[in-house]
Amino acid sequence: MSPSGAEVIRQIKQQVEEVDPAEVSEHLGNGVTLIDVRESEEWDRGHIPGAKHVPRGYLESRIEGAQPDRDARIVLYCASGQRSALAAHTLEDLLGYTNVASMTGGITLWKDRGYKLEVPRALTPQQRDRYGRHLLLPEIGPEGQAKLLDAKVLLLGAGGLGSPTALYLAAAGVGTLGIVDDDDVDLSNLQRQIIHTTDRIGTPKVDSAEASIAALNPDVTVVKYPVRLDASNIMEIIEGYDVIVDGVDNFPTRYLLNDATVRLGIPVVSASILGFDGQLSVFKPHDGPCYRCLYPVPPPAELAPSCGANGVLGVLPGTMGLLQATEVVKLVTGAGEPLVGRLLLYEALGATFTELKVRRDPECPICSRPAEEITDEEMGVFPDYEAFCAAAG
């Protein structure tokens, strides 16, 4: 006669190692991979801080995303300790994991003992569907998606770089997108500024961008700044944003932005384009170099032509803008290695990427000092500022 289900569970529980919640609590964050094998609805109601979520039904297909090392210490838990025991048995017996345990009593006992719970931002069924491909990625998952939904990202410009960046960040579910742009949509923009449309020529770019974003993803709140960023408004506009995407078309604003973001400690994902060439880097204040460490002074006007004067391949800001959007998602979710201290050059005609090192300048006039010492008067200033601006017209 076949054994009952209860008997099978009892036998398996005898074969797997079980650990008490007290031991799990003690070793949280000490190189132990803690995995919650419950269903998504149960996870959403609260889980152990630092745990990864691999529902038991997806155990075989997703465990390697959570912990590929077969010899790593893994502790599994569920609601009461039964499903996690069965899952531990599967990991050891079928998948060759060697150091797996199941937590006794599951999260019920964990809660009874008064240990901490983390309640994630709950995604609606529509959001689970919309962001489903993100939820499958171990590097993003429900927690990363929640961070994206809570993130505030400011885009400087809804132009060549800002258009693709805004669309993809909106699609990714970045909860708040601020857009600074004082221009109107022009026919000549549409060769590359794909957030705008022919029937919106003549309307403010911030309104046009808002309309496209709303059509793509109603989860996103758009905050419009139909102004030109300058020393008088920059601190007020940028404060409170988590990441800033720099796609501005002039040097004075790039230096001003650098100084203000170093002062406030806000990372900047910076790109610039010209012709068939693009540059990209992430300036994360005090963790890496700032824009002034890379470029202590701007080039004279004759060596700094604008895209308007020099031309730009329409696809190029798409390429560079999407690399920016990728870096934003990484900064918000904590996934991967952001492009801090590195400058990426893309040359479209030859289809080449070149990576250069960018070092912090120990004598940088801005980021080598305590942030609170940077004054309003210093921001955006460089030695030949007046001459440069006069030459640039």
Partner: protein, 90 residues
């Protein structure tokens, strides 16, 4: 001969090339050889006192020569110099 990667804004000064080669034992010698071959690049690279303009970044392979030995940094035959001015297009 070291390879020098030319940025877009300087390409018209070197006949439209993206890469050129120039001889020299150190960064300064290679760049001066470049300026001799293509005189239009001279004022863009060097100031009146012969030093490298501050707005021009030069990398030996992937490292900024400012953190190496500046213009005195040794250059080998297979090395690549990257000349990089800031760009502000968006």
């Amino acid at each position: 001969m070291a390879t020098i990667k030319i940025p877009p804004v300087l390409r018209s000064s070197v006949g439209g090339e993206k890469e050129v080669t120039a001889a020299g034992d150190d960064v300064g010698a290679v760049l001066r050889a470049l300026a001799e071959q293509h005189p239009q690049t001279e004022t863009q690279l060097f100031g009146p006192d012969g030093s490298l303009n501050r707005y021009v970044n030069v990398y030996l392979n992937d490292e900024d020569v400012r953190v190496l030995g500046g213009l005195d940094t040794s250059v080998g035959e297979s090395d690549v110099l990257v000349i990089l001015p800031a760009m502000a297009g968006g």
